[in-house]
Protein backbone atom coordinates (compact mmCIF):
# COMPACT_ATOMS: atom_id res chain seq x y z
CA UNK A 1 0.00 0.00 0.00
CA UNK A 2 2.85 2.41 0.79
CA UNK A 3 4.22 1.69 -2.65
CA UNK A 4 0.90 2.64 -4.21
CA UNK A 5 0.76 5.91 -2.30
CA UNK A 6 4.35 6.76 -3.21
CA UNK A 7 3.61 6.13 -6.89
CA UNK A 8 0.46 8.19 -6.63
CA UNK A 9 2.29 11.12 -5.10
CA UNK A 10 4.97 10.99 -7.75
CA UNK A 11 2.39 10.86 -10.55
CA UNK A 12 0.30 13.53 -8.90
CA UNK A 13 3.16 15.99 -8.67
CA UNK A 14 3.74 15.81 -12.42
CA UNK A 15 0.08 15.90 -13.25
CA UNK A 16 -0.46 18.92 -11.06
CA UNK A 17 2.29 20.77 -12.89
CA UNK A 18 0.66 20.01 -16.25
CA UNK A 19 -2.76 21.08 -15.02
CA UNK A 20 -1.37 24.31 -13.56
CA UNK A 21 -0.33 25.59 -16.97
CA UNK A 22 -3.67 24.70 -18.52
CA UNK A 23 -5.68 26.29 -15.78
CA UNK A 24 -3.55 29.45 -15.82
CA UNK A 25 -4.17 29.97 -19.52
CA UNK A 26 -7.84 29.31 -19.04
CA UNK A 27 -8.17 31.69 -16.12
CA UNK A 28 -6.50 34.56 -17.93
CA UNK A 29 -7.80 34.20 -21.46
CA UNK A 30 -10.87 31.98 -21.19
CA UNK A 31 -9.17 29.77 -23.74
CA UNK A 32 -9.22 26.00 -23.48
CA UNK A 33 -5.76 25.20 -24.70
CA UNK A 34 -6.10 22.04 -26.74
CA UNK A 35 -2.44 22.24 -27.64
CA UNK A 36 -1.29 21.76 -24.06
CA UNK A 37 -0.33 18.13 -24.51
CA UNK A 38 1.50 18.99 -27.70
CA UNK A 39 3.43 21.71 -25.87
CA UNK A 40 4.41 19.07 -23.35
CA UNK A 41 5.66 16.83 -26.17
CA UNK A 42 7.63 19.68 -27.72
CA UNK A 43 9.27 20.40 -24.36
CA UNK A 44 10.17 16.75 -24.05
CA UNK A 45 11.79 16.72 -27.46
CA UNK A 46 13.79 19.88 -26.80
CA UNK A 47 15.23 18.24 -23.70
CA UNK A 48 15.86 15.06 -25.67
CA UNK A 49 17.75 17.00 -28.33
CA UNK A 50 19.90 18.95 -25.88
CA UNK A 51 20.48 16.43 -23.12
CA UNK A 52 20.26 13.20 -25.08
CA UNK A 53 21.94 14.19 -28.31
CA UNK A 54 24.16 17.18 -27.56
CA UNK A 55 25.11 15.73 -24.14
CA UNK A 56 24.77 19.05 -22.34
CA UNK A 57 23.79 18.99 -18.63
CA UNK A 58 20.19 18.14 -17.82
CA UNK A 59 19.56 21.48 -16.13
CA UNK A 60 20.52 23.36 -19.28
CA UNK A 61 18.20 21.17 -21.32
CA UNK A 62 15.35 21.77 -18.91
CA UNK A 63 15.91 25.53 -19.06
CA UNK A 64 15.97 25.42 -22.84
CA UNK A 65 12.67 23.51 -22.88
CA UNK A 66 11.10 26.12 -20.66
CA UNK A 67 12.44 29.08 -22.61
CA UNK A 68 11.50 27.65 -26.00
CA UNK A 69 7.96 26.99 -24.93
CA UNK A 70 7.66 30.34 -23.18
CA UNK A 71 8.64 32.15 -26.36
CA UNK A 72 6.31 29.96 -28.38
CA UNK A 73 3.43 30.60 -26.01
CA UNK A 74 4.00 34.35 -26.01
CA UNK A 75 4.05 34.47 -29.81
CA UNK A 76 0.93 32.34 -29.99
CA UNK A 77 -0.94 34.67 -27.68
CA UNK A 78 0.23 37.84 -29.38
CA UNK A 79 -0.34 36.88 -32.99
CA UNK A 80 -3.06 34.25 -32.90
CA UNK A 81 -5.32 34.22 -29.89
CA UNK A 82 -5.46 37.95 -29.34
CA UNK A 83 -6.43 38.56 -32.97
CA UNK A 84 -9.09 35.90 -33.06
CA UNK A 85 -10.62 36.96 -29.76
CA UNK A 86 -10.88 40.49 -31.09
CA UNK A 87 -12.41 39.57 -34.44
CA UNK A 88 -14.69 36.70 -33.63
CA UNK A 89 -18.33 36.94 -32.73
CA UNK A 90 -18.33 33.90 -30.48
CA UNK A 91 -15.53 33.26 -28.08
CA UNK A 92 -15.69 29.53 -28.77
CA UNK A 93 -13.80 30.28 -31.97
CA UNK A 94 -10.62 30.18 -29.94
CA UNK A 95 -11.21 26.46 -29.52
CA UNK A 96 -10.88 25.93 -33.24
CA UNK A 97 -7.71 27.96 -33.17
CA UNK A 98 -6.36 25.95 -30.26
CA UNK A 99 -7.20 22.69 -32.02
CA UNK A 100 -5.50 23.92 -35.17
CA UNK A 101 -2.39 24.84 -33.18
CA UNK A 102 -2.46 21.37 -31.67
CA UNK A 103 -2.42 19.86 -35.17
CA UNK A 104 0.31 22.28 -36.16
CA UNK A 105 2.54 21.33 -33.24
CA UNK A 106 1.89 17.65 -33.91
CA UNK A 107 3.05 18.17 -37.49
CA UNK A 108 6.13 20.14 -36.48
CA UNK A 109 7.20 17.57 -33.91
CA UNK A 110 6.60 14.75 -36.36
CA UNK A 111 8.69 16.44 -39.04
CA UNK A 112 11.54 17.42 -36.75
CA UNK A 113 11.84 14.36 -34.53
CA UNK A 114 10.05 11.51 -36.30
CA UNK A 115 7.55 9.13 -34.80
CA UNK A 116 9.88 6.93 -32.75
CA UNK A 117 9.72 6.67 -29.00
CA UNK A 118 12.69 8.63 -27.66
CA UNK A 119 14.39 8.31 -24.33
CA UNK A 120 17.46 9.80 -22.68
CA UNK A 121 20.01 8.31 -20.27
CA UNK A 122 19.02 8.37 -16.61
CA UNK A 123 19.84 11.52 -14.67
CA UNK A 124 20.95 9.54 -11.65
CA UNK A 125 21.02 5.81 -11.34
CA UNK A 126 20.26 3.67 -8.34
CA UNK A 127 17.11 2.64 -6.56
CA UNK A 128 15.88 3.59 -3.14
CA UNK A 129 14.90 0.42 -1.31
CA UNK A 130 13.29 0.24 2.10
CA UNK A 131 11.06 -2.37 3.68
CA UNK A 132 7.87 -1.28 2.04
CA UNK A 133 8.76 1.12 -0.75
CA UNK A 134 10.94 0.72 -3.80
CA UNK A 135 11.51 3.86 -5.83
CA UNK A 136 14.26 4.67 -8.34
CA UNK A 137 16.23 7.76 -7.33
CA UNK A 138 15.50 9.59 -10.56
CA UNK A 139 11.78 9.35 -9.91
CA UNK A 140 12.26 10.77 -6.45
CA UNK A 141 14.34 13.60 -7.89
CA UNK A 142 11.76 14.40 -10.58
CA UNK A 143 8.97 14.30 -8.04
CA UNK A 144 10.85 16.65 -5.72
CA UNK A 145 11.65 19.06 -8.56
CA UNK A 146 7.99 19.04 -9.56
CA UNK A 147 6.84 19.81 -6.03
CA UNK A 148 9.44 22.57 -5.69
CA UNK A 149 8.24 24.09 -8.94
CA UNK A 150 4.64 24.00 -7.80
CA UNK A 151 5.66 25.77 -4.61
CA UNK A 152 7.68 28.34 -6.54
CA UNK A 153 4.78 28.93 -8.91
CA UNK A 154 2.36 29.49 -6.05
CA UNK A 155 4.73 31.89 -4.31
CA UNK A 156 5.20 33.74 -7.59
CA UNK A 157 1.45 34.06 -8.10
CA UNK A 158 0.91 35.10 -4.51
CA UNK A 159 3.64 37.64 -3.86
CA UNK A 160 5.20 38.96 -7.06
CA UNK A 161 3.85 41.89 -9.01
CA UNK A 162 3.12 39.98 -12.23
CA UNK A 163 1.51 37.26 -10.13
CA UNK A 164 -0.79 39.73 -8.45
CA UNK A 165 -1.63 41.31 -11.78
CA UNK A 166 -2.51 37.93 -13.25
CA UNK A 167 -4.70 37.03 -10.31
CA UNK A 168 -6.50 40.33 -10.69
CA UNK A 169 -6.97 39.61 -14.39
CA UNK A 170 -8.41 36.21 -13.68
CA UNK A 171 -10.89 37.65 -11.19
CA UNK A 172 -12.22 40.47 -13.32
CA UNK A 173 -10.67 41.54 -16.56
CA UNK A 174 -12.37 44.91 -16.86
CA UNK A 175 -11.82 45.92 -13.27
CA UNK A 176 -8.16 44.97 -13.52
CA UNK A 177 -7.81 47.11 -16.61
CA UNK A 178 -9.44 50.04 -14.86
CA UNK A 179 -6.97 49.69 -12.02
CA UNK A 180 -4.12 50.17 -14.44
CA UNK A 181 -3.09 46.57 -15.05
CA UNK A 182 -1.63 46.24 -18.52
CA UNK A 183 -4.05 43.54 -19.62
CA UNK A 184 -2.39 42.65 -22.89
CA UNK A 185 1.08 42.35 -21.46
CA UNK A 186 0.00 40.15 -18.58
CA UNK A 187 -2.14 37.95 -20.79
CA UNK A 188 0.96 37.32 -22.83
CA UNK A 189 3.10 36.63 -19.78
CA UNK A 190 0.45 34.28 -18.44
CA UNK A 191 0.22 32.36 -21.68
CA UNK A 192 4.01 32.12 -21.86
CA UNK A 193 4.14 30.92 -18.26
CA UNK A 194 1.51 28.25 -18.89
CA UNK A 195 3.32 27.03 -21.98
CA UNK A 196 6.60 27.05 -20.09
CA UNK A 197 5.19 24.83 -17.36
CA UNK A 198 4.04 22.33 -19.97
CA UNK A 199 7.47 22.39 -21.58
CA UNK A 200 9.33 21.88 -18.32
CA UNK A 201 7.17 18.93 -17.31
CA UNK A 202 7.80 17.42 -20.72
CA UNK A 203 11.51 17.87 -20.18
CA UNK A 204 11.37 16.36 -16.70
CA UNK A 205 9.43 13.32 -17.77
CA UNK A 206 11.48 12.53 -20.84
CA UNK A 207 14.15 11.29 -18.47
CA UNK A 208 11.77 8.68 -17.04
CA UNK A 209 9.08 7.67 -19.48
CA UNK A 210 10.59 8.97 -22.69
CA UNK A 211 8.50 10.81 -25.23
CA UNK A 212 6.92 10.17 -28.61
CA UNK A 213 5.01 12.40 -30.96
CA UNK A 214 1.66 10.69 -30.40
CA UNK A 215 1.16 11.26 -26.67
CA UNK A 216 0.11 14.90 -26.90
CA UNK A 217 -3.62 14.19 -27.24
CA UNK A 218 -3.87 11.76 -24.32
CA UNK A 219 -1.89 14.16 -22.12
CA UNK A 220 -4.32 16.94 -23.01
CA UNK A 221 -7.25 14.74 -22.02
CA UNK A 222 -5.65 13.93 -18.69
CA UNK A 223 -5.03 17.62 -18.11
CA UNK A 224 -8.69 18.35 -18.86
CA UNK A 225 -9.71 15.70 -16.35
CA UNK A 226 -7.61 17.25 -13.62
CA UNK A 227 -8.90 20.70 -14.35
CA UNK A 228 -12.48 19.42 -14.22
CA UNK A 229 -11.93 17.68 -10.92
CA UNK A 230 -10.41 20.75 -9.32
CA UNK A 231 -12.42 23.44 -11.06
CA UNK A 232 -11.37 25.39 -14.13
CA UNK A 233 -9.28 28.49 -13.67
CA UNK A 234 -8.38 27.90 -10.01
CA UNK A 235 -4.76 27.28 -9.12
CA UNK A 236 -5.49 25.31 -5.99
CA UNK A 237 -8.02 23.24 -7.90
CA UNK A 238 -5.51 22.26 -10.54
CA UNK A 239 -3.06 21.06 -7.91
CA UNK A 240 -5.74 19.13 -6.05
CA UNK A 241 -7.00 17.66 -9.31
CA UNK A 242 -3.52 16.58 -10.31
CA UNK A 243 -2.86 14.77 -7.05
CA UNK A 244 -6.32 13.19 -7.01
CA UNK A 245 -5.94 11.86 -10.53
CA UNK A 246 -2.43 10.61 -9.84
CA UNK A 247 -3.63 8.81 -6.72
CA UNK A 248 -6.69 7.33 -8.46
CA UNK A 249 -4.58 6.08 -11.33
CA UNK A 250 -2.05 4.51 -9.00
CA UNK A 251 -4.68 2.88 -6.78
CA UNK A 252 -6.82 1.87 -9.73
CA UNK A 253 -3.99 0.14 -11.54
CA UNK A 254 -3.35 -1.97 -8.45
CA UNK A 255 -6.87 -2.70 -7.26
CA UNK A 256 -8.52 -3.26 -10.65
CA UNK A 257 -5.64 -5.21 -12.11
CA UNK A 258 -7.48 -8.50 -12.38
CA UNK A 259 -10.42 -6.95 -14.25
CA UNK A 260 -8.29 -5.84 -17.16
CA UNK A 261 -7.63 -2.37 -18.46
CA UNK A 262 -10.60 -0.55 -16.99
CA UNK A 263 -8.97 1.94 -14.60
CA UNK A 264 -9.74 4.91 -16.78
CA UNK A 265 -13.25 3.71 -17.47
CA UNK A 266 -13.89 3.69 -13.72
CA UNK A 267 -12.28 7.10 -13.32
CA UNK A 268 -14.48 8.53 -16.08
CA UNK A 269 -17.61 7.04 -14.57
CA UNK A 270 -16.72 8.48 -11.16
CA UNK A 271 -16.05 11.83 -12.77
CA UNK A 272 -19.49 11.89 -14.41
CA UNK A 273 -21.15 11.19 -11.08
CA UNK A 274 -18.98 13.75 -9.33
CA UNK A 275 -19.71 16.43 -11.91
CA UNK A 276 -23.44 15.86 -11.74
CA UNK A 277 -23.22 16.64 -8.02
CA UNK A 278 -20.67 19.44 -8.26
CA UNK A 279 -20.76 20.89 -11.77
CA UNK A 280 -17.81 23.23 -11.22
CA UNK A 281 -15.43 20.80 -9.63
CA UNK A 282 -13.99 21.11 -6.16
CA UNK A 283 -13.16 24.81 -6.12
CA UNK A 284 -14.36 26.22 -9.42
CA UNK A 285 -16.34 29.37 -9.88
CA UNK A 286 -19.87 28.91 -11.23
CA UNK A 287 -19.97 28.95 -15.05
CA UNK A 288 -16.22 29.57 -15.23
Amino acid sequence: MEQVIANGLYLGAQYALIALGLTLIFALMNVLNFAHGQMYVLGGFVTYAIYGQLKLPFVVALLCSGVTLAIFGALMEKFLFRTVIRRSKREESTMLLAAATAFFLDAVVLLLFGEKQRGVPKIISGVFVSERVILPYDRILVGVIAILMIAAFMLFMQYSKPGRAMRALAQDRVAAQLMGVKVERYSMIGFALGAMLAGVVGGLLVSITGVNSGIGGPISIKAFLMVMIGGAGVVGGAIAGGFILGMMESVGLTVLREYGDITYLVIFALLMIFLSIRPHGLMGKPWG
Binding site: T83, R87, M95, A100, D106, L110, I221, A232, I262, H280
Partner: protein
Protein backbone atom coordinates in the same frame (compact mmCIF):
# COMPACT_ATOMS: atom_id res chain seq x y z
CA UNK B 1 -45.05 38.89 -51.74
CA UNK B 2 -41.28 39.22 -51.40
CA UNK B 3 -41.22 36.50 -48.82
CA UNK B 4 -42.95 33.92 -51.00
CA UNK B 5 -40.60 34.78 -53.82
CA UNK B 6 -37.49 34.18 -51.74
CA UNK B 7 -39.07 31.02 -50.37
CA UNK B 8 -39.67 29.60 -53.84
CA UNK B 9 -36.17 30.65 -54.81
CA UNK B 10 -34.78 28.74 -51.84
CA UNK B 11 -36.80 25.62 -52.60
CA UNK B 12 -35.81 25.77 -56.27
CA UNK B 13 -32.12 26.09 -55.47
CA UNK B 14 -32.32 23.27 -52.93
CA UNK B 15 -33.99 20.96 -55.48
CA UNK B 16 -31.46 21.96 -58.12
CA UNK B 17 -28.60 21.24 -55.73
CA UNK B 18 -30.02 17.82 -54.91
CA UNK B 19 -30.53 16.98 -58.59
CA UNK B 20 -26.97 18.04 -59.22
CA UNK B 21 -25.73 15.66 -56.53
CA UNK B 22 -27.93 12.76 -57.62
CA UNK B 23 -27.65 13.02 -61.42
CA UNK B 24 -24.85 15.28 -62.53
CA UNK B 25 -22.21 14.01 -60.11
CA UNK B 26 -22.62 10.31 -61.02
CA UNK B 27 -22.59 11.21 -64.71
CA UNK B 28 -19.42 13.22 -64.27
CA UNK B 29 -17.79 10.45 -62.30
CA UNK B 30 -18.75 7.96 -65.00
CA UNK B 31 -17.32 10.21 -67.66
CA UNK B 32 -14.02 10.69 -65.91
CA UNK B 33 -13.87 7.15 -64.53
CA UNK B 34 -12.82 8.26 -61.06
CA UNK B 35 -15.12 5.95 -59.15
CA UNK B 36 -13.03 6.41 -55.99
CA UNK B 37 -14.71 9.79 -55.70
CA UNK B 38 -17.92 7.98 -54.75
CA UNK B 39 -16.39 6.89 -51.50
CA UNK B 40 -15.04 10.36 -50.78
CA UNK B 41 -18.34 12.06 -51.49
CA UNK B 42 -20.27 9.47 -49.49
CA UNK B 43 -17.97 10.11 -46.57
CA UNK B 44 -18.51 13.83 -46.87
CA UNK B 45 -22.29 13.34 -46.88
CA UNK B 46 -22.20 11.12 -43.80
CA UNK B 47 -19.70 13.21 -41.91
CA UNK B 48 -21.81 16.27 -42.57
CA UNK B 49 -24.81 14.47 -41.06
CA UNK B 50 -22.78 13.73 -37.95
CA UNK B 51 -21.48 17.29 -37.88
CA UNK B 52 -25.02 18.59 -38.24
CA UNK B 53 -25.67 16.93 -34.89
CA UNK B 54 -22.83 18.91 -33.35
CA UNK B 55 -24.28 22.02 -34.92
CA UNK B 56 -27.56 21.47 -33.03
CA UNK B 57 -25.71 21.45 -29.74
CA UNK B 58 -23.94 24.62 -30.77
CA UNK B 59 -27.37 26.05 -31.43
CA UNK B 60 -28.26 25.69 -27.76
CA UNK B 61 -24.92 27.18 -26.80
CA UNK B 62 -22.97 24.05 -25.90
CA UNK B 63 -19.64 23.06 -27.37
CA UNK B 64 -19.96 19.38 -28.16
CA UNK B 65 -16.74 17.45 -28.69
CA UNK B 66 -18.38 14.13 -27.89
CA UNK B 67 -20.11 13.32 -31.13
CA UNK B 68 -17.60 10.57 -31.90
CA UNK B 69 -18.99 8.64 -28.93
CA UNK B 70 -22.45 8.51 -30.47
CA UNK B 71 -21.17 7.77 -33.95
CA UNK B 72 -19.23 4.85 -32.50
CA UNK B 73 -22.24 3.64 -30.51
CA UNK B 74 -24.48 3.90 -33.57
CA UNK B 75 -22.04 1.92 -35.64
CA UNK B 76 -21.80 -0.81 -33.02
CA UNK B 77 -25.56 -1.01 -32.46
CA UNK B 78 -26.20 -1.44 -36.15
CA UNK B 79 -23.35 -3.91 -36.60
CA UNK B 80 -24.41 -6.06 -33.63
CA UNK B 81 -28.07 -6.07 -34.68
CA UNK B 82 -27.17 -7.09 -38.22
CA UNK B 83 -24.56 -9.68 -37.27
CA UNK B 84 -26.01 -11.29 -34.15
CA UNK B 85 -29.74 -10.90 -34.65
CA UNK B 86 -30.07 -10.79 -38.43
CA UNK B 87 -32.06 -7.57 -38.43
CA UNK B 88 -32.30 -5.78 -41.78
CA UNK B 89 -29.80 -2.95 -42.03
CA UNK B 90 -32.42 -0.39 -42.99
CA UNK B 91 -34.27 -1.13 -39.78
CA UNK B 92 -31.12 -0.85 -37.70
CA UNK B 93 -30.44 2.63 -39.07
CA UNK B 94 -33.24 4.34 -37.12
CA UNK B 95 -32.78 1.90 -34.25
CA UNK B 96 -29.13 2.92 -33.90
CA UNK B 97 -30.20 6.54 -33.91
CA UNK B 98 -32.88 5.91 -31.30
CA UNK B 99 -30.49 3.95 -29.11
CA UNK B 100 -28.04 6.85 -29.20
CA UNK B 101 -30.79 9.34 -28.48
CA UNK B 102 -31.93 7.31 -25.45
CA UNK B 103 -28.37 6.99 -24.21
CA UNK B 104 -27.82 10.69 -24.67
CA UNK B 105 -30.91 11.51 -22.62
CA UNK B 106 -29.51 9.48 -19.74
CA UNK B 107 -26.05 11.01 -20.05
CA UNK B 108 -27.34 14.44 -20.94
CA UNK B 109 -29.57 14.90 -17.91
CA UNK B 110 -26.62 15.35 -15.56
CA UNK B 111 -23.98 16.75 -17.91
CA UNK B 112 -26.15 19.29 -19.72
CA UNK B 113 -26.20 21.24 -16.48
CA UNK B 114 -22.59 22.05 -17.22
CA UNK B 115 -21.76 24.97 -19.42
CA UNK B 116 -19.01 26.42 -21.51
CA UNK B 117 -15.66 24.79 -21.14
CA UNK B 118 -16.89 22.28 -18.60
CA UNK B 119 -19.36 20.78 -21.04
CA UNK B 120 -16.73 20.81 -23.77
CA UNK B 121 -14.29 18.91 -21.59
CA UNK B 122 -16.84 16.36 -20.37
CA UNK B 123 -18.02 15.69 -23.89
CA UNK B 124 -14.43 15.20 -24.97
CA UNK B 125 -14.02 12.66 -22.21
CA UNK B 126 -17.20 10.96 -23.41
CA UNK B 127 -15.53 10.01 -26.69
CA UNK B 128 -12.76 8.36 -24.75
CA UNK B 129 -15.34 6.55 -22.57
CA UNK B 130 -17.04 5.14 -25.66
CA UNK B 131 -13.74 3.87 -27.01
CA UNK B 132 -12.81 2.24 -23.70
CA UNK B 133 -16.27 0.72 -23.39
CA UNK B 134 -16.01 -0.75 -26.87
CA UNK B 135 -12.70 -2.27 -25.83
CA UNK B 136 -13.98 -3.65 -22.53
CA UNK B 137 -17.49 -4.94 -23.30
CA UNK B 138 -17.73 -8.59 -24.36
CA UNK B 139 -20.37 -8.00 -27.06
CA UNK B 140 -18.23 -5.57 -29.05
CA UNK B 141 -15.45 -8.10 -29.52
CA UNK B 142 -12.68 -5.91 -28.10
CA UNK B 143 -9.89 -4.44 -30.15
CA UNK B 144 -10.44 -6.73 -33.14
CA UNK B 145 -13.83 -5.11 -33.69
CA UNK B 146 -16.68 -6.45 -35.79
CA UNK B 147 -15.68 -7.22 -39.35
CA UNK B 148 -17.26 -8.49 -42.57
CA UNK B 149 -20.67 -7.02 -41.90
CA UNK B 150 -22.93 -7.99 -44.82
CA UNK B 151 -24.04 -5.31 -47.25
CA UNK B 152 -27.54 -3.87 -46.70
CA UNK B 153 -30.27 -6.26 -47.83
CA UNK B 154 -33.45 -5.64 -49.81
CA UNK B 155 -36.10 -3.41 -48.34
CA UNK B 156 -39.60 -3.98 -49.59
CA UNK B 157 -43.01 -2.72 -48.63
CA UNK B 158 -46.10 -4.75 -49.62
CA UNK B 159 -43.98 -6.77 -52.03
CA UNK B 160 -42.74 -3.62 -53.72
CA UNK B 161 -38.96 -3.33 -53.73
CA UNK B 162 -38.01 0.06 -52.36
CA UNK B 163 -34.29 -0.53 -52.04
CA UNK B 164 -32.62 -3.40 -53.87
CA UNK B 165 -30.16 -5.78 -52.22
CA UNK B 166 -26.81 -4.02 -52.26
CA UNK B 167 -24.94 -7.28 -52.72
CA UNK B 168 -26.60 -7.78 -56.12
CA UNK B 169 -25.93 -4.25 -57.29
CA UNK B 170 -23.36 -3.81 -60.05
CA UNK B 171 -21.95 -0.83 -58.23
CA UNK B 172 -22.72 -0.81 -54.51
CA UNK B 173 -20.69 2.37 -54.14
CA UNK B 174 -23.23 4.25 -56.24
CA UNK B 175 -25.99 2.79 -54.07
CA UNK B 176 -24.29 3.97 -50.90
CA UNK B 177 -23.66 7.34 -52.47
CA UNK B 178 -27.31 7.87 -53.36
CA UNK B 179 -28.51 6.61 -50.00
CA UNK B 180 -26.12 8.92 -48.16
CA UNK B 181 -26.99 11.95 -50.23
CA UNK B 182 -30.69 11.35 -49.65
CA UNK B 183 -30.08 10.93 -45.94
CA UNK B 184 -28.07 14.14 -45.89
CA UNK B 185 -30.80 16.03 -47.74
CA UNK B 186 -33.37 14.72 -45.28
CA UNK B 187 -31.19 15.67 -42.35
CA UNK B 188 -30.55 19.21 -43.49
CA UNK B 189 -34.18 19.71 -44.45
CA UNK B 190 -35.08 18.72 -40.91
CA UNK B 191 -32.38 20.95 -39.54
CA UNK B 192 -33.63 23.91 -41.55
CA UNK B 193 -37.18 23.33 -40.33
CA UNK B 194 -35.94 22.99 -36.77
CA UNK B 195 -33.88 26.16 -36.89
CA UNK B 196 -36.80 28.16 -38.26
CA UNK B 197 -39.45 26.68 -36.03
CA UNK B 198 -40.64 27.82 -32.62
CA UNK B 199 -38.31 25.34 -30.95
CA UNK B 200 -35.43 26.73 -32.97
CA UNK B 201 -36.16 30.22 -31.71
CA UNK B 202 -36.31 28.93 -28.17
CA UNK B 203 -32.99 27.17 -28.67
CA UNK B 204 -31.47 30.45 -29.71
CA UNK B 205 -32.72 32.01 -26.54
CA UNK B 206 -30.82 29.29 -24.66
CA UNK B 207 -27.73 30.15 -26.63
CA UNK B 208 -27.94 33.75 -25.59
CA UNK B 209 -28.95 33.61 -21.96
CA UNK B 210 -30.31 30.58 -20.17
CA UNK B 211 -31.38 32.34 -16.99
CA UNK B 212 -33.31 34.95 -18.89
CA UNK B 213 -34.98 32.33 -21.07
CA UNK B 214 -35.89 30.33 -17.99
CA UNK B 215 -37.33 33.39 -16.26
CA UNK B 216 -39.63 34.03 -19.21
CA UNK B 217 -40.95 30.52 -18.89
CA UNK B 218 -38.90 28.48 -21.32
CA UNK B 219 -38.43 24.95 -20.05
CA UNK B 220 -34.69 24.94 -20.52
CA UNK B 221 -33.95 21.54 -19.00
CA UNK B 222 -36.42 19.88 -21.37
CA UNK B 223 -35.28 21.81 -24.43
CA UNK B 224 -31.61 21.14 -24.04
CA UNK B 225 -32.14 17.42 -23.49
CA UNK B 226 -34.30 17.29 -26.63
CA UNK B 227 -31.69 19.14 -28.65
CA UNK B 228 -28.93 16.91 -27.35
CA UNK B 229 -30.97 13.78 -28.12
CA UNK B 230 -31.54 15.00 -31.69
CA UNK B 231 -27.87 15.69 -32.05
CA UNK B 232 -26.95 12.20 -30.86
CA UNK B 233 -29.60 10.68 -33.10
CA UNK B 234 -27.86 12.16 -36.12
CA UNK B 235 -24.52 10.95 -34.80
CA UNK B 236 -25.86 7.43 -34.40
CA UNK B 237 -27.41 7.30 -37.86
CA UNK B 238 -24.24 8.58 -39.47
CA UNK B 239 -22.10 6.12 -37.55
CA UNK B 240 -24.36 3.19 -38.46
CA UNK B 241 -24.18 4.05 -42.14
CA UNK B 242 -20.41 4.32 -41.90
CA UNK B 243 -20.09 0.91 -40.32
CA UNK B 244 -22.16 -0.54 -43.14
CA UNK B 245 -20.11 1.10 -45.89
CA UNK B 246 -16.76 0.05 -44.51
CA UNK B 247 -18.36 -3.29 -43.49
CA UNK B 248 -16.46 -3.14 -40.23
CA UNK B 249 -16.31 -1.22 -36.98
CA UNK B 250 -13.47 -0.96 -34.48
CA UNK B 251 -13.09 0.89 -31.18
CA UNK B 252 -10.77 3.23 -33.05
CA UNK B 253 -13.26 3.97 -35.85
CA UNK B 254 -14.27 7.20 -34.17
CA UNK B 255 -11.71 8.71 -31.83
CA UNK B 256 -11.14 11.99 -30.09
CA UNK B 257 -9.57 13.35 -33.27
CA UNK B 258 -12.81 12.63 -35.14
CA UNK B 259 -14.86 14.32 -32.46
CA UNK B 260 -12.66 17.38 -32.72
CA UNK B 261 -13.01 17.28 -36.50
CA UNK B 262 -16.80 17.26 -36.28
CA UNK B 263 -16.57 20.37 -34.17
CA UNK B 264 -14.11 21.94 -36.59
CA UNK B 265 -16.47 21.25 -39.50
CA UNK B 266 -19.16 23.29 -37.80
CA UNK B 267 -16.79 26.10 -36.89
CA UNK B 268 -15.31 26.26 -40.34
CA UNK B 269 -18.66 26.37 -42.06
CA UNK B 270 -20.03 28.94 -39.67
CA UNK B 271 -22.12 28.40 -36.58
CA UNK B 272 -24.84 30.81 -37.58
CA UNK B 273 -25.83 29.02 -40.77
CA UNK B 274 -27.74 25.78 -41.25
CA UNK B 275 -25.64 24.74 -44.21
CA UNK B 276 -22.45 25.53 -42.34
CA UNK B 277 -21.66 21.97 -41.28
CA UNK B 278 -22.12 20.69 -44.84
CA UNK B 279 -19.78 23.25 -46.36
CA UNK B 280 -17.26 22.88 -43.55
CA UNK B 281 -17.14 19.10 -43.91
CA UNK B 282 -16.75 19.35 -47.65
CA UNK B 283 -13.92 21.85 -47.47
CA UNK B 284 -12.13 20.12 -44.62
CA UNK B 285 -12.38 16.63 -46.08
CA UNK B 286 -11.43 17.62 -49.62
CA UNK B 287 -8.70 19.93 -48.41
CA UNK B 288 -7.22 17.06 -46.44
CA UNK B 289 -7.48 14.74 -49.44
CA UNK B 290 -5.92 17.22 -51.84
CA UNK B 291 -3.00 17.75 -49.51
CA UNK B 292 -2.29 14.03 -49.57
CA UNK B 293 0.14 14.58 -52.42
CA UNK B 294 2.32 16.76 -50.25
CA UNK B 295 3.24 13.66 -48.25
CA UNK B 296 4.79 14.33 -44.88
CA UNK B 297 3.91 18.00 -45.00
CA UNK B 298 0.19 17.23 -45.20
CA UNK B 299 -0.61 17.94 -41.57
CA UNK B 300 1.66 20.98 -41.43
CA UNK B 301 0.05 22.68 -44.42
CA UNK B 302 -3.43 21.66 -43.32
CA UNK B 303 -3.05 23.11 -39.85
CA UNK B 304 -1.41 26.27 -41.15
CA UNK B 305 -4.31 26.83 -43.54
CA UNK B 306 -6.74 26.26 -40.67
CA UNK B 307 -4.96 28.80 -38.50
CA UNK B 308 -4.89 31.37 -41.30
CA UNK B 309 -8.57 30.75 -42.05
CA UNK B 310 -9.33 31.32 -38.39
CA UNK B 311 -7.44 34.59 -38.41
CA UNK B 312 -9.08 35.87 -41.57
CA UNK B 313 -12.59 34.44 -41.21
CA UNK B 314 -13.22 33.76 -37.53
CA UNK B 315 -16.96 33.50 -38.12
CA UNK B 316 -16.81 30.69 -40.64
CA UNK B 317 -16.76 30.33 -44.40
CA UNK B 318 -20.46 31.03 -44.78
CA UNK B 319 -19.92 34.53 -43.46
CA UNK B 320 -18.27 35.27 -46.80
CA UNK B 321 -21.33 34.44 -48.88
CA UNK B 322 -23.91 35.96 -46.58
CA UNK B 323 -22.18 38.99 -45.13
CA UNK B 324 -23.70 40.87 -42.25
CA UNK B 325 -27.03 39.19 -42.58
CA UNK B 326 -27.28 38.40 -38.92
CA UNK B 327 -24.89 40.86 -37.40
CA UNK B 328 -26.36 43.23 -34.92
Amino acid sequence: MRRTQTATLKIASAVLFLLCLLVAVPLLINATGRSDLYYTLTSVALLSIISAGVWITFYIGRINIGQGAYALTGGYVSAILVMNYGVSFWLTLPLAGLFCAAASVLIGLPILRLRGVYFAMVSLVLTEVARLLALALPITNGASGIVSIPLPSRLSLFGLTLIPDFATLANPRLGFYIASVLLMALCFLGLYRLAHSRIGQLCQSLQQNEELASSIGVNIAYLRVIAYALSSFLGGVGGAMFASISQSIYPSSFTVADSVNFMLNCFLGGLGYVLGPMLGTFVLYFGWDLLFQTGEFQLLIFSTVLIVLMLVLPNGLMSLALPRKRSL
